[in-house]
Amino acid sequence: MLFRYSVVFLWGFVWTSILLSQEPSKLTIRGETKVEEVERHVVIKEKVTVVTKLPFTVEAPVGGVAYSWEFPSSIAASRTRNILTVTEGKGQVRVSVEWSTAELKAGNLVVTPFSAELLFYIGEVAPPPKPDPKPDPKPVVPVGFRVLLIHESQEKSPAFFDGRAVKEYLDSKTVKDEGHPSWRRLDKDQAGANLPKELKLLWEAAKPKITTVPAVVIAVNEQVTIHALPKDEQALLELLKKHGGE
């Protein structure tokens, strides 16, 4: 009897050892293969704030000055100091605000800047956009003739750079943005924050590509070219006329 039980136990032990040593969950392809890198889109679930009723307000800390709100044109909102009141809108919204605190210390005005940003949804959360196989559309380039004369304020530039003939030509040939001839003389490091939007777009596109100053940035519709400042007034006017017409 004891001998029979011992044989059964030994038989079970041997089979268990064989099964454990074979990694039964792993599959293997037998045949011709290769390894490539492919994109994989991972879905991440996150919690977001959804505003369920209009109107509502977005509030920045009180006690600051010069609150400057930015919000998408897809919503209707009004600004009153540190409060943004949203009256219409739907979907994903990103709101940002910049403000400063100002105080006098020992006769000097001390200004400290602050900024904040908030992403939320109004009404419902739209499904995330699917990856678009098409390239991004080109930015909308405004139609017309526009010119930027670029210099370094702390370096000498020739007198004709500021000449009246250049001004008169550009006044007569450039388009008008916000009611004013669309050409400027800019320092190469200038942010251009307060330029009309068409010139701002042009400056943002051209600024990183300017390698030497003084320089001339010329935009005719979608075509933007950057030139070193010609050697004299006549050559500068010829360059401008080549693009802007006689």
Binding site: A66, S100, A159
Partner: protein, 250 residues
Amino acid sequence: MAEPFILTDDNCQIPVGFETGLVPRDFEAQPYGSIEGLPAMALPEFSDEEIQDRLNDQEKYKSSLLHMRADYKIRSLNQANYPYCWAFSTTKAIMYLQARMNKPIEELSGWMLGSVASGFVKTGGWCENSMRAAREVGVCSLAEWPQGGTGRSLWNEVTKLAAAKRKVVEWSDIPNDNRNIRILASLLLSNIPVMVEHNRWSHSVCAFYLRSWKPFKYDIDNSWTPNWGNDGCSTMDWIPDNMACPYVVD
């Protein structure tokens, strides 16, 4: 512009109904290059030959700030009987820079700059005070901050946003030594307006044009209306006691 009005010790009196307001810079307490945010002058100086060539070129190409003053119809401002000359000189320098940039010309408010920089106190100062405010909060136009306005209530959300559209981005301190005539000439010939301060006149004004090098003469734009001097301006040869200049306004 007609024949220049030459300012001298004999004709520099303050007209009735107007003020000056310069508090001379204390160079012992605030020596050149010591003021935070006010870097030292970096523009290369012009040689004698370059100065004369540039004077000729400015006339040939009509490219000086004097020409731009006419082209952009820049008028002298009016500080009236308030001691804010130190703010009006900065305000006017910003206007000349805007003309050089070909920005639409707006008359800017020295009243706003003086009021905010002084904490709404009727007091004198020097151009560093107003330039610091122009850099940190910007400057309003006269359409946004009216002529004669000095009340604290004017400094509200609307005017703060308006001022922020015109901030001085770069400006420089100018050394107070015997080289400063050449530096002043080099700046003016580069179309950079300069706030010049004369302790003997207790006044801060905006220099904008080098009329001649030898003898040294330059034009200033005063803040006593276009009725003073020649259309509000004069030619002078006094060596300034203090100078600063904005380079870039955004």
